[in-house]
Symmetry: C2
Subunit: 379 residues, 2 copies
Amino acid sequence: MNPRLAAIAPSLLRAINARKRPGDIDLGLGEPTLRPDVAPFEAAMERVRRDGLPYTPNAGLPELREAIARYHAYPGLGEAANVCVTIGSEEALYLAIKAVLDPARDEVLIVEPCYLAYPKLCALEGVRHRSVASDASDGFRPSAARVLDALAPETRMVVINTPCNPTGRVWPAEDLRALAEGLAGRPEPVWVLSDEVYRELYYTSAPATSIAAYHPHALIAGSLSKSNALTGLRLGWLIGPAGEMAEAIKVHQLVNTAASTFSNHVALEIFSRPEMLAAHRPLYAHQRALLTTLLDRNGITYAPVEGAFYCFIRLPESLARDSVAAAGALLDAHRVMAMPGVAFGAAGEGWLRLSWVATPEALATGIDRIAEFFADHGG
Amino acid sequence: MNPRLAAIAPSLLRAINARKRPGDIDLGLGEPTLRPDVAPFEAAMERVRRDGLPYTPNAGLPELREAIARYHAYPGLGEAANVCVTIGSEEALYLAIKAVLDPARDEVLIVEPCYLAYPKLCALEGVRHRSVASDASDGFRPSAARVLDALAPETRMVVINTPCNPTGRVWPAEDLRALAEGLAGRPEPVWVLSDEVYRELYYTSAPATSIAAYHPHALIAGSLSKSNALTGLRLGWLIGPAGEMAEAIKVHQLVNTAASTFSNHVALEIFSRPEMLAAHRPLYAHQRALLTTLLDRNGITYAPVEGAFYCFIRLPESLARDSVAAAGALLDAHRVMAMPGVAFGAAGEGWLRLSWVATPEALATGIDRIAEFFADHGG
C-alpha cells in the first residue's frame, strides 16, 4: 500500500453525512438542487448520433479550450494553449499541484478554513503544506496581509478559493492586487492556485475578480458543476501559462487520457451562449435574501454571504469548542444536518457551515430549529 | 516544476501521428472506427430530463459497480465493493499503481512490448520499474516462465495486458495458471495488474481468461472504449479485493471525485444487456480474416492475431534496426502510417504495429504498399 494514503484522514463531512436519517433537514449538501438546462444535452446527442463518440484530444476539444480562455479573458491567458479541460475542478486542482511543484523542496500555503481537498492533495503528492487562518473576528474576510506574513522562503504556491467554500467570502480586488504586489517582490515565483468553482455565484455588486488579473503566476481552477447544476458532468478546466499547462496536460494524459467527449460537447454549447453560465445566479440571490432574513430574525451571527451557496454561522460560546459535537447534537436532537466548521480546518472551529440550496420551507424550518438549539445552549 | 515530468519522454506515437498528411492511409490508429449504438445514450438522456445530472457516489453508481462485478464474475471479486468506476481504463491503471505500491521500496515488472503508459505512470509516481521482454522468435507469445525468471526480491507488481497492444497476443490459460502458481510461493504478495481493455475482442476459440481466475492478488483494468467504440465515454473500471479498492477509491475521490454521471448511465444500460459488449466482435473477426489473407498473400511475417485490433509485423532485415526510421520512410514514400515497434519498448524494435480498423479498401491498399516497401528493402 501507498503509505501516504494511510496518513490522509477520512472525511468528517462524510462521517456526518452517514448519520443522516430520512426526514432530516439537509443543510449539509455541497451540490446545487436546481435542475440543469437540458438543451445543451440535446445538442450533444445530435453529435453522438452523427459522429459517434471518439476521443477528444487529451486537453479537450480545441474550440472548447478556446471558448473557455476567451470567456475568462485573463491577461496573457486568452488562448486555447492556456486551458486544459479536466474532470471537474477537482482534477484541475490535482494537476496544478502535481505539475508545477517539486515535492522535494516546495511548500504550499493554504488559506483556511477551506475545502479540505487542498491539503489532502498535497499529502497525496508528498508536498509539504501549511495553512494560514482567515480572521474569524473579521468574518473570515480574505486578507493579502495575512497571507504575505505567513510566507516562508520555500513557499512556492498559495491556494485561495473565491468565492469561498465554506465561508461564502469573496477576495476583494484590493487584496488580490496587494497579494500580487507582495508576491512580485519574491526572489522565486510563487504560484497562486485560485479555486474559482463558485465564480458565477456572487452576490456583491460586481463579479468576483481573479488573481489572474494581477499576478503572472496564476493557475485558475473552474467547472460547470456549480454555475449550471452539472456536478455529474465532470467538466472543469485549469487555466494558466502555456508552459505550465503543457506539463499539466502531460499528467492529465497519463492519469485519465481526456474528459468525456459528450461532456465536452455539452460544455461547448454552454460556452457558445455564455449567458447560460449566469442563468442560475438570480435564483441563488433570491434564496440568499431569504436566508439572511431568517438568520437576522433569529439573531444568528454569520460571515457575510458574498458568494457560493454556503453560510458560515457562529456557534454559541458553550458549543464553540467542539463543532463536531455541536453538528452531531443538532442532527440527533433537532434533525438538521449542518457541517462542523472544523471539517474545513482548525480555523473553522466554533462555526457551522450551512448550505442553503434546500427548498425555502426546509431552509426556514432548519434555521428555526438551529435557533432553538442555540437558545438551548445559551446562544 | 515536478522534475519527474521532465524525465517522461514524449510519445513516439504522437510524433509519427503529427507527420500524417491528408490522403495518407492510416494504419496507426488506436481507436475503433465503428459507430457506437445510440440506444444507451437515449436512455441516459431520459435520466437527465427526469433527474438532472447530480454526482454519483465517488466509486460510481452502486448498481453499475455491481453489474460490472457480476459480469466479470472473478472469484472473490463479485461484489460492488470490488469495483471502482474510473475515467477509462487509463485511470484504472493509474489508481492501481498509485494505491497499492510503496514508491520507497516496491518495484514493478512490466511485460514488453507494451502500451507505454505503464512505465510512464510508474515514472510519474516515482515507482521503480523494469521490463521483461516477450520472445520475438516465438511471436511474442506470453510466457509465465519469462516473468517468473525476471522477478526480483523487491518486485511487488507485474503488469500484463491480454489481449495485448501492440502484439495482438492473448495470455494462454496455462501460462496464467503457472504465473499464479509461481507467485503463490513468494514471501510477500506480488500484485498482477492485468490490463484487459481488449477483453471482448478475441479471435481464439474461447474468451481470453483472466489472471483473476487464478491469483488472489489481481487488479483488473477494463473499459467500454474498445468493445463498444466508446473511447469518448471515458468509462472504465478497476476490479480488485475490497481492501485495496477502498484505497484506490480514496485516490480517485481526491484526483477527480467521480466519473461522469451520464457515462455511468450509458454504461448501466450496456451492462443491463451484456450481449451489447460482444456486439462488435463478429465485425472485427471478419476484418481480421481479411487482414491475415492480405498479409499471407504478400508474404509478410506477423505475430498471431489472437485479440485486440492490432497486428505486429516483422520488418525486413535491412530495416529491422530502426523501426522509427522505417515507419518514417513508409509514411513519406508510400503514404502509409504504421507505428514503430520500438514505441512499445525496446522489445518491439524490428517490428511495426498495424491497426486494422480502417476500411477494407484502405487496409488492402495499405498492406500492398507495405509489401512494396518491404520488397524495395530486400524483404
